[in-house]
Symmetry: C2
Subunit: 235 residues, 2 copies
């Protein structure tokens, strides 16, 4: 488990592994929502300039910086905006402060999946079927540790261990499972102290928080093939 | 709070701050012990080559790699070796896998103090008197997060907040305080799952663990002036 993109280079191994990208507030929750609501594909871009360029070519664009939708974009980063009537069947260009950068970092992996509370059961089952090592990569906030991603990483680790397919000797995994054990009774309450909760509240964007901590609202597993994000084929 | 040296560049601010370096198993516990036992000064060096060179000039040298004492060195990194009869009044050259690298990283700070459970109360009082911002820098293991340093960081943060002098809005600080709340009844028991505990056990070096989780065995605050480590003047 990698608690911040800044630590990712140090956890890489030569083994095959799947990266699970985590940015609970808000990118990976948003991506799961968009895929569940029938988006054709998501093109993650690492820069706002690239997002702007693709907007001028006619793409639907979601782009935010430090939580705020950029003026040229159709969407910011609230999962609640990505409803079926506006994104169903469309291709979406997507750029966020932390999530899409971490996604590009993970490109060297043999697979990249998108994880959030809202797809945790579908994701757990999919990962157990892959029979590969898993690295959980928390997007954090500008390379810093963030609490909400660590909570999800802990919840997912506990689920993965429960399958009997995985084991871990990773201190970050143990720490995040312990944090999750403290939070699981009331994750939105626990997260009151998180810096990102304060940032979103100050921007009037915290309405997405209860949604982001619901389990299994969707049954999709978005995967990134190095170019676009689409839902994985599920049995 | 910085949970790994790999994240340190991203938490730097322009404000004056004091870094508290943490490497509970074992460097900072060892340094506190050596200073309490009357070492004249400790010269931390970042490379084994430099340690070897200074050994040839007649210095007493502590040097280990991945837990194991190097053949040319007088000491490895077990606090239990640094008794008054062998290090009292001497200058010690010191090189460890993680601790001394993190120490050199912290050089830009307006002060660098050495923290461990064995000096936590003296350290808390000293920090409260400095009236500066504090960054707790966990040494980790080869840039990875490690559990024992996070526990100490949480214990120290809780103590600092209790003084009424400090406040924090840092997710890492909250996470580590929560981990400490789970561990404080039996820290050596909690740490059974830590990777470093397994490493030390495999090397037969885990005898230092109970000592490393004792509170307030010493009343020194070692500080690094950019060249050497000595005990801070205490009131």
């Amino acid at each position: 488990m990698c608690l911040s993109p800044g630590l990712f280079p140090d956890i890489l191994t030569k083994d095959d592994f799947i990266v699970v990208l985590v940015d609970v507030l808000r990118a990976t929750t948003t991506i799961c929502t968009a895929v569940a609501n029938g988006v054709e594909a998501i093109i993650p871009v690492a820069s706002h300039e690239e997002a702007r360029r693709l907007k001028s070519k006619g793409f639907l664009v979601a782009s935010e910086r430090d939580g705020v939708r950029l003026d040229f974009a159709d969407f910011g980063n609230s999962a609640l905006s990505f409803t079926r009537d506006v994104i169903g069947g469309k291709t979406l260009v997507y750029c966020t402060t932390n999530g899409t950068r971490a996604l590009h970092l993970a490109k060297g992996a043999s697979g990249v999946a998108i994880g959030a509370f809202i797809n945790i059961s579908a994701l757990t089952e999919w990962l157990a079927r892959q029979r590969k090592n898993v690295v959980i990569l928390c997007s954090g906030w500008k390379n810093r540790f963030c609490l909400e991603d660590a909570l999800f990483a802990g919840a997912l680790t506990a689920r993965l261990l429960d399958t009997g397919v995985f084991r871990t000797v990773c201190d970050s995994a143990h720490a995040s499972m312990d944090l999750w054990s403290l939070a699981e009774g009331d994750a939105p309450g626990y997260i009151q102290k998180a810096a990102q909760r304060h940032r979103l509240k100050n921007l009037g964007l915290d309405d997405v928080i209860p949604y982001s901590f619901e389990f299994d609202l969707v049954t999709v597993v978005p995967v990134f093939d190095g170019e676009v994000i689409k839902g994985a084929a599920l049995p």
